[in-house]
Amino acid sequence: MGLTTVFGSGAGTSSYEDFHHTSFILLVGSNAAEAHPIIFHHIMKGVHNGAELVVVDPRKTVTAKRAHEHLQIAIGSDIALLNAMAHVIIREHLYREDFVARATVGFDAFRDSVADWTPKRAAVITGIAPERIEALARRYAAAPTAMIGWTLGITEHHNAVDNVYALINLALLCGNVGRPGAGLNPLRGQNNVQGGGDMGALPNRLPGFQDVTDPAVREKFEKAWGVPLAPEPGWNQTQMFDAIEQGTLRGLYVIGENPIQSEADSGYMRALFGQLGALVVQDIFLTATAEIADVVFPARVSFAESDGTYTNSERRVQRVRAARRAPGQAQDDLWIVTSLARAMGYPWPYLDAEGVFDEMRQLTVNFRGMTYARLEEAHGLQWPVPELDHPGSKVLHERLWAPEVAVKAPFMPVQWAPPVEMPTPEYPFQLTTGRRLAFYNTGVQSNVYDHPHKIGEWMEIHPHDAKALGIVDGEVVAVISRRGRVEVPAYASSSVMPGTVFMTFHFPDEVMTNVLTIEATDPLSGTAEFKAAAVRLERLVAKAPMHA
């Protein structure tokens, strides 16, 4: 979202191999060692080659432990830190003045916006000493090349897009985009988040991030498809949920998602889905969401039972192939969608995945030069690939380094806002959520294999808090937010700060963590603030509320 606004396309600007040869790696809200283990291999190659690794994370994660410096900031204080770094870099004239003048717009307004973001002010909010913020700013600015990587610690906040803007501003200031070893890289949480966006599975985009509100774009697609297209963008997920509540959206077709368990405030979600007139779910399992559906279409396992492509976090489009026969009546997603259209009176032909891909690439410049044969030969290709002899693009936005920059990148001044819920005497702890290495999301995939560390969900609590509350390791406690209550075993861990507890949502059948989380969404991206909810803890044995 943030990247699209500034650069015109919503994708990481570098390749994984750029981590090998950069001077500086700043990871913000990313526990790559557990959430993106193979990208972490690339990051560590860079570290062994001499790069400095700095990790900004409220938790002392496996990733943070491998860093040269770990800034254990307060949850949701990223913008304070990043604005203060920009403040120092501008105050001390450490920014790339040539690049800022040639390739960016809006510098003056940005400079003014960070003028009062002194490290001292940021220190109060982040909990990081002013001297450390200054030193980090100087090192980032002095690095000949620097990579920034982020994950859901940035985007699962009510001000997610502002967080991304703050990172982009920093990179623009120091010219750390559009060059080898210098870039902005969202590490995607799911296998084909990037590919979904690439293919126009966004309310305001057609394939190749082409803008649905642009009449020329619509005309091209209308001509190819032979149908008129609505000029207004559709709804994002948050808007759909609002529309269900208001009764204006009455039918929902859910493909490969389990929102009843994966969305924040799942008690509310379940009630909301109950209001639908018709719910259709297409999945490989009878998920909790499928269980309440009117119609369920059994699908094939995309990576092992059907054909197509995924796009990864470095824009690499790769072939997915069927390796085994699907069970029973399970069908390909493409076949189901086509059959549904035909049943509704549209005579769509039954194309195979390659046929659909070929149609798509004729309509998009980014993918035009990709054929299945080329993808297979080259271990995938990184878009844009505008012509059949184009080798793919390792680095995006090199145009920003041309002598004349036609479309300049705008600075996007942002101001810090705290998480929607901050701890109170009644709810004294901040609950933050994330992933653990061996498991994944709602566990539909990862809870089937026999991992030796599979002991179900547990909550991490700082040893001081555990001691103060008299909680012993493994003791089941109640965690209560304004929205719900769960019971979960607690273990002391110094990976969280005092006042913070950590849980995952990998085992929703036992511990439905998302009854606690808050449906406070970013107005632009529609992402909910999974990373911060105020909770209180109650010991079941003492039956009395406790205070930290």
Binding site: A35, I38, F303, S313, R319, Q445
Partner: protein
């Protein structure tokens, strides 16, 4: 552009880029040397001595996997001294370790004319299989201490550092720390050690069980290349399928995303895709 390096390999003049190892230079000259511990994505450990060559002016044979080519070097890849060394390396390893799942060791033995029984009858590495989890098995009777697993677990890929060589001399062995079982160790079960093991000492649990039952039939296994369905890194997976069941997952060593390495979910977390059959 740095000056290129000229050297002689078995009398043939070869020109290579600075930094090229003798092993790579020999490969370029089409006089390849056998290797056991060398792996394209790992730092040379100089452990096995299978790749030694004779270097004029050097008192000892040199490990071609790590020795860097220099101007004017004269290298022999098949002298009597080299062939004798290879043969003894193979014979010593065969006397201690079970090579039934070690194609590269079998090949070394074959090309060097090794006699598997030459040193038979002495101490061996035979020991019980360590089967302490349901993802992979350690059959250290097959280990040749090539260090590949240690490097893949360490700074060449995984950076977990769960395993190292413990002990000295004949008692040296790969250990997860204090002899612990894997679930109690720092192991995160990525299986990257299994992926680089050249002897089957580290082997996926499913493959191990099927081999025990006599059901592992390479001719019946299809391998399909696809992409992992967990996070957004986009790791290339090779699904090895036997009788419509995924029985092993690997990744190509030359893939730009993985370099043959995967995480625990990609390598072992596939059961959901075929859970209807269990």
């Amino acid at each position: 552009m740095e000056k290129s390096i000229s050297l002689t390999i078995d009398g043939q003049v070869v020109t290579v880029a600075p930094g090229t190892t003798l092993r790579a230079a020999c490969e370029q000259a089409q006089h390849p040397v056998p290797t056991l511990c060398w792996h394209e994505n790992l730092t040379p450990a100089n452990a096995c001595r299978a790749c030694v060559v004779e270097l004029k002016g050097s008192r000892t044979l040199v490990a071609s996997c790590s020795r860097v080519a220099e101007d004017g070097m004269e290298v022999l890849t098949a002298s009597e001294r080299v062939q004798n060394a290879r043969q003894v390396v193979a014979e010593l390893l065969l006397s201690t370790s079970d090579a039934t799942l070690a194609p590269s060791l079998q090949e070394l033995a074959q090309i060097s004319g090794a006699d598997p029984n030459r040193f038979a009858g002495g101490a061996t590495w035979a020991q019980p299989v360590r089967d302490d989890n349901n993802l992979y098995v350690r059959d250290l009777s097959k280990c040749i201490l090539c260090y590949r697993c240690v490097e893949a677990c360490g700074d060449d890929a995984q950076n977990t550092f769960a395993i190292a060589v413990a002990g000295r001399g004949f008692d040296a062995h790969i250990d997860a720390g204090f002899g612990r079982e894997l679930p109690e160790s720092d192991c995160v079960f990525c299986g990257n050690c299994v992926a680089v093991c050249p002897t089957g000492a580290l082997i996926g649990k499913k493959e191990y069980e099927l081999r025990q039952e006599g059901q592992w039939d390479e001719s019946q296994i299809t391998t399909t290349e696809t992409v992992c369905s967990y996070c957004g890194v986009g790791c290339d997976l090779q699904l090895h399928v036997l009788d419509n069941q995924i029985v092993k997952v690997t990744s190509p060593a030359d893939h730009p995303v993985t370099h043959g390495m995967l995480c625990v979910k990609g390598r072992y977390g596939y059961a959901f895709a075929q859970s209807e059959d269990e």
